[in-house]
């Protein structure tokens, strides 16, 4: 019997209309766990570097984390991977909600989608019954509207739906896949649209078996209660109304400008009222007691939900206030737009207009107010109309298509992807490495275990480390105790810190644990629910596979190296690993390159950032090293 997983995956070829239920190899679970780990393995095996992202041979995979649908609290993430047309690399995306657990109860650990349908279709999964159905009547419909219509026509009120909106249908690069108030961003919605797949609808009523039931139950009942009561897990932004951190320190417009004194008590008070006057409740995801998502009913708008920095991105890009985000956010979500990249693309367009690079010819009747301009461009991009057709390809490609100096305004991309808009003074070594080498394309997907800043006094630092259960090694306590100035830390320590940060995300993205109860959250206070020392036990109890810290760490290394291997095979090299040039005002190329080289060495990669044969073979990735040798990527 398979525990914690179904042991089957669903393979759908939309070109041929073929659907297969395939039994999977338990050995792969042991090597990669699930979620992104196995997704990466499948993409390495089946999507060669010659495959264009828009080719029918590109795969779109919805992989559930291994611990979904078990009692393990906060395990609810579905990881969506494909090859992104924006970066040409592995696209990484995660969504919460209830979709993944439902898929497992339907009897599948993942869905692998290949090919392209002739016309718009949706996939209906009801346990063993799987159908590709016509979706032409859903063309142009919003994501929640689509979900409602499908559930009504199938008479399946309990089904879970993941859908694309207008943006995905029109292959906008910043299109997301939306499910409830959760979304899968960063380059997957465009491929779902390219495959002409409007939605996936899942209904499942099968059991998921647990290897060591009583022990796991007892543990999770206790943890659920502790996590509910703890301030150390979940999104504190749901309850902390002081958001001066983002507004005073992050950049506004096209990652252009800091407004250090923006926040004020008067503003906080006003926004507090705006939020609570319009908020219905705060909700969570499947099997999680936290309530990170604010559900808002704004006058004249459809109800919507948001979490974290997602509430700030539109108004900060448009130099507006929270009411502007409340006006636009629900509409943008209904179109299926990623709320991180999209506002930046729009602000980039506005800047080009102000600089005279784009003119009234490109943007007829372009309004004056930055808010109206944001609306104007949102509509154009969603429909790929006029200039929207260019901006829909993301800042990097749009800048090169527009030319005429537009490239200089693309100042916040790494690996052709829009980064979180932050521009700072002095280099932070760990952040340099994370932005440079991260392959999940957003800093939020790599940072998170080691604090961002040192604490001012030795006493505070001692207090911090005294209850720091999450550390993989006692040495991290020492690092923190001795850390006084942000940029004064040895390369050796920086490498180990970045590696730990990255490790936890790779573990979460294979188990399906939410980053807010695990990888992202420990940096703020340290008292996190999940860490390298307690996750192995829960994997063991749920799956029956004996896991310990070292074995789990090796899974991280294997999955992480495999993602790098996919990207190396697609051409990623050291020269691509550069944070935006103006990310810090003060730069030191020599120091940065030394640090990057040291990190490559730490990771077991050569000076081009390519994993060496020894590293690959040690992780059991011999098939990768052989492939690399054959292709001349590694020299014998």
């Amino acid at each position: 019997m398979r525990y914690s997983e179904t042991g089957y995956q669903l393979e759908v070829d939309l070109s041929r209309g073929n659907i297969e239920r395939i039994e999977t190899d338990p050995k792969l679970t042991e090597l990669h766990l699930g979620g992104q780990g196995i997704n990466a393995k499948i993409i390495y095996d089946r999507v060669g570097p010659e495959v264009d992202p828009f080719s029918p041979d590109n795969l779109l995979i919805f992989g559930t984390g291994l611990l979904l649908a078990t009692p393990v609290v906060g395990a609810n993430r579905t990881i969506v991977n494909t090859i992104s047309p924006q970066t040409g690399l592995f696209a990484h995306s995660v969504m919460g909600g209830w979709f993944g657990p439902e898929l497992k109860h339907a009897g599948y650990d993942r869905i692998i989608i290949r090919g392209k349908a002739d016309g718009l279709v949706y996939l209906y999964i009801n346990n063993d019954k799987v159908e590709i159905r016509d979706a032409s009547h859903l063309r142009g419909k919003g994501v929640t509207e689509t979900a409602t219509l499908i559930k009504e026509e199938l008479k399946e009120p309990n089904a879970q739906v993941a859908a694309i909106g207008l943006a995905g249908e029109n292959r906008v690069y910043s299109a997301s896949i939306e499910h409830g108030w959760s979304s899968a961003a960063r380059g997957v919605g465009v491929i779902m649209g390219d495959k002409r797949l409007k939605a996936i609808v899942v209904r499942g009523t099968k059991d998921i078996n647990i290897a060591r039931p009583a022990e796991l139950w007892e543990l999770t009942v206790r943890l659920r209660k502790e996590m509910c009561e703890s301030d150390g897990v979940g999104d504190w932004m749901a309850v902390d109304e002081d958001d001066s951190f983002h507004h005073n320190h992050f950049s506004w417009g096209n990652s252009r400008m800091r407004r250090r004194n923006f926040w004020s008590p008067e503003l906080e008070d006003r926004w507090y009222n705006l939020k609570y006057d319009n908020m219905d409740r705060q909700i969570g995801c499947y099997n999680c007691p936290k309530a990170c998502i604010n559900v808002i009913s704004y006058p004249g708008r459809k109800r919507f939900g948001y979490k974290c920095f997602g509430k700030d991105t539109y108004h900060m890009a448009a130099f507006k206030e929270l009411d502007f985000s409340y006006e636009i956010l629900g509409v943008a979500q209904e179109y299926g737009f990623d709320s991180y990249s999209t506002p930046q693309v729009i602000a980039f367009g506005i800047e080009l207009y102000e600089a005279g690079i784009l003119t009234d010819k490109d943007m007829p009747d372009f309004p004056v107010d930055p808010g109206d301009r944001t609306w104007y461009l949102l509509e154009k991009i969603a429909r790929r109309e006029g200039i929207g057709d260019v901006l829909a390809n993301g800042i990097y490609w749009a800048a090169r298509q527009i030319g005429n100096g537009a490239e200089a305004y693309d100042h916040n991309s790494t690996k052709k992807f829009e980064q979180i808009p932050i521009k700072l003074g002095k280099l932070n070594p760990a952040y340099f490495l994370m932005i440079a080498t991260g392959e999940k394309m957003a800093i939020t997907q790599i940072e998170g275990s080691f604090p961002q800043d040192p604490l001012p006094t030795r006493e505070e630092r001692e207090e911090f480390v005294s209850k720091w259960d999450a550390v993989p090694d006692e040495k991290f306590k020492q690092y923190f105790l001795e850390w006084e100035k942000r940029n004064e830390i040895s390369n050796e320590r920086t490498c180990a810190i970045v590696d730990w940060n990255e490790a936890m995300h790779y573990i979460d993205d294979s188990t399906g644990l939410c980053a807010f109860v695990s990888s992202f959250r420990g940096q703020f206070g340290g008292g996190i629910a999940y860490h390298i020392n307690n996750i192995p036990n829960q994997i063991t109890l749920a799956t029956g596979m004996e896991f310990d810290k070292d074995k789990l760490w090796k899974v991280f290394q294997r999955n992480r190296t495999l993602v790098r291997a996919i990207n190396v095979r697609r051409g990623l090299r050291r020269a691509d690993e550069r944070p935006p040039e103006d990310h810090w005002a003060v730069r030191d190329e020599e120091l940065e390159q030394k640090l990057l080289g040291d990190y490559y060495e730490f990771k077991g990669w050569n000076m081009e950032g390519i994993p060496t044969k020894v590293t690959l073979d040690e992780l059991g990735l011999n098939y990768v090293s052989e492939d690399f040798l054959q292709r001349g990527i590694l020299k014998p």
């Binding site: 009692p71 409830g180 099968k206 059991d207 139950w217 659920r224």
Partner: protein, 177 residues
């Protein structure tokens, strides 16, 4: 009602809808508790409590499976509570043919909440740290006939296939040799 019955207490679960965050831990707990062996499998479709959810309507209502009925009711009324429209079904725990809820997924037989009598509190209450579900004791209501799980299943089979067919099948299956 006799004096004896009036003094008899039964468990009840109170629901505070405003506190529900849609996590469905109650469903997980119920299905785990009723699995054999205990906690050995998870399956919300087997749960005797379900959170009926409608995100667009901000509706999150945990309801418990109560009685089985062979006929659907005429309950098509809607109620608006604080601007949100609820259907009558949103609060109804009856297992009926109108909807796909509280039917054991393998057999289609009705499920019924048993209040986890041997436990200090029903498992769904234990698994709800947000305090949406709380357990209280209320006076028992006299019931004409109290059906147990098996009788309930039999009743629905009789309704579905007729008593003769059920009796024939029973006789055939229990025949010796």
């Amino acid at each position: 009602m006799s004096t004896e019955l009036a003094n008899q207490k039964v468990r009840n679960i109170k629901v505070d809808l405003d506190k529900c965050n849609g996590c469905r831990s109650c469903e997980i707990a119920c299905s785990a508790f009723h699995a054999k062996p205990k906690y050995s499998s998870i399956n919300p479709a087997r749960s005797r409590i379900r959170v009926t959810m409608d995100l667009l309507n901000d509706e999150y209502v945990p309801i418990r499976a109560t009685d089985y009925t062979k006929a659907g009711c005429d309950g098509r009324r809607t109620y608006t509570i604080r601007g949100k429209e609820y259907s009558e079904c949103s609060f109804c725990g009856t297992v009926c043919p109108t909807r796909d809820l509280f039917k054991e997924p393998d057999s289609g037989l009705p499920l019924k909440c048993d209040m986890c009598e041997d436990e200090k509190e029903p498992l769904c209450v234990q698994a709800c740290p947000r305090g949406v579900l709380t357990c209280e004791e209320i006076d028992a209501v006299q019931e004409e006939v109290k059906l147990d799980d098996m009788e309930l299943g039999m009743r629905s089979l009789i309704d579905k296939f007729g008593s003769k067919k059920v009796a024939d099948t029973y006789n055939r299956m229990t025949k010796k040799g």
